[in-house]
Subunit: 264 residues, 2 copies
């Protein structure tokens, strides 16, 4: 197996920065489950890099030996791998993957009838956790406004491979999202701690639907909240005034899948 | 206001490490909401430190001026504050707080009738998010086994101040937790992706109850799963095989508060 040249190590290090990710339209995905998911789901993997001194997974070696027929696979030392890793205890495998943005009109997105939409989400760990939960509950993901980058290392990590199984589409503004929903007959359900209706009192949800949540710090603006046919809040009983965004999104997705649906 | 002496800066830096936290039985809590919650809820704050160059919150200055009658409050430069901060964009206020472990038999814990229990939880961010959610839904928190430290900076951060409003008690083993539940008439509900009963099919939960979840990587062991009178799973419809631990805990706490209860 060829040893990774210095330029490869240097390139991977540079991909920590959004500027370089955008320039190269690529990012570094690290970890066994994540690399396996990228390979299995035909993500645009440019190359795989691994350290035999660190990597202990049989399944990962099988995936590498299958992948090497079509994708460059580089070996590297434990020391070099640790210099590119974003983790405290790297497992020793990663891949550089090209961006795989999808258009809001792509059939893979439109095959879904439930969506979770995030407006101005700032924390890449939250975004990744929402993508992972969306995969579990069968939702597509829509991001709008000044949201974080889904290719941020913390997002990739929190996704646990779901970035390769769930379609994620991006809109410049919540207004564009609304137009898209209107065009495709998708009802919007907005969520805010200030909303009128308590989700425990809701007997069912429309389908197709997009559940829209706002930023960690401020939630949805008054105007965006009004976009919802249903405007719902999760009841809070304690001293904390709000739930973590990814937890709130998880509770609402669960509520949608566990209650009856009506045609919207 | 006195300027923080070098030994204070040095002490705070050392508290990043669990070894020093345990030695001093104290930790550094950073951020406006967190420091305000510690002061309001009579946490054992040893001193407050802030940087006038960074801190922009009126509410924080009011809290400092009230606190200084009873607690040392130190000023420091932006540069020194950045050297102690664990954040990319520090807001400029923190406090060193003594450990506030509570006994499983303390009245503040026994005043609760719903608990979320975590066995072998490893990720401090997950633990903090569970504590925050427990506060929102009125649950006490029980930690058992080889679990992470609730005073880890990432846990403190994810708690968003809930560490000062929610009782958190610790048990050496799940067996000890079971004894405690038995003694206090608390039913155990165990959760695992391998459990028989789908939570969407459950019509209600016992009360008092403790919902027990396992580690991020492996969930509950077979033996611990058997401790539950109810053994439940959250249905998964997608390619991902599991939810994030804090999301799963949030969904189950929500399910408990939104469904009828029966006396256990």
């Amino acid at each position: 197996m060829p040893v990774a040249p210095k330029r490869i190590i240097k390139e991977i290090r540079s991909l920590r920065h959004k500027k370089f990710r955008q320039e190269k339209q690529a990012y570094f995905a690290e970890g066994i489950a994540i690399v396996l998911s990228a390979l299995e789901n035909q993500a645009p993997v440019q190359y795989v890099i691994y350290s035999p001194e660190l990597l202990r997974s049989e399944t990962a070696y099988e995936a590498i030996s299958e992948a090497r027929a079509r994708i460059p696979c580089y070996e590297t030392s434990a020391q070099a791998f640790m210099s590119i890793s974003g983790r405290d205890n790297p497992v020793g495998i990663g891949a550089v993957v090209g961006y795989h943005d999808i258009s809001p009109d792509s059939p893979s997105l439109l095959a879904y009838s439930r969506f979770v939409a995030l407006d101005n989400v700032k924390n890449p760990g939250n975004l990744g956790t929402v993508i992972r939960t969306a995969d579990c509950f069968g939702f597509g993901v829509l991001i709008c406004g000044e949201s974080t980058d889904q290719y941020h290392p913390e997002c990739i990590r929190a996704c646990m491979g779901a970035l390769y199984t769930v379609p994620v589409a991006r809109f410049d503004t919540a207004g564009n999202l609304r137009q898209w929903c209107h065009k495709h007959g998708v009802s919007i359900v907005t969520t805010s701690s200030k909303a009128r209706d308590d989700i425990t009192q809701i007997s069912g949800y429309p389908r197709p639907l997009a559940v829209l949540l706002g930023s960690e710090a401020t939630g949805l603006s008054h105007d965006v909240l009004q976009l919802g046919e249903l405007q719902v809040r999760i009841p809070i009983y304690g001293a904390s005034t709000s739930l973590n965004l990814a937890v709130a999104a998880g509770i609402i997705m669960y509520d949608v899948v566990s209650k009856p649906e009506f045609k919207s």
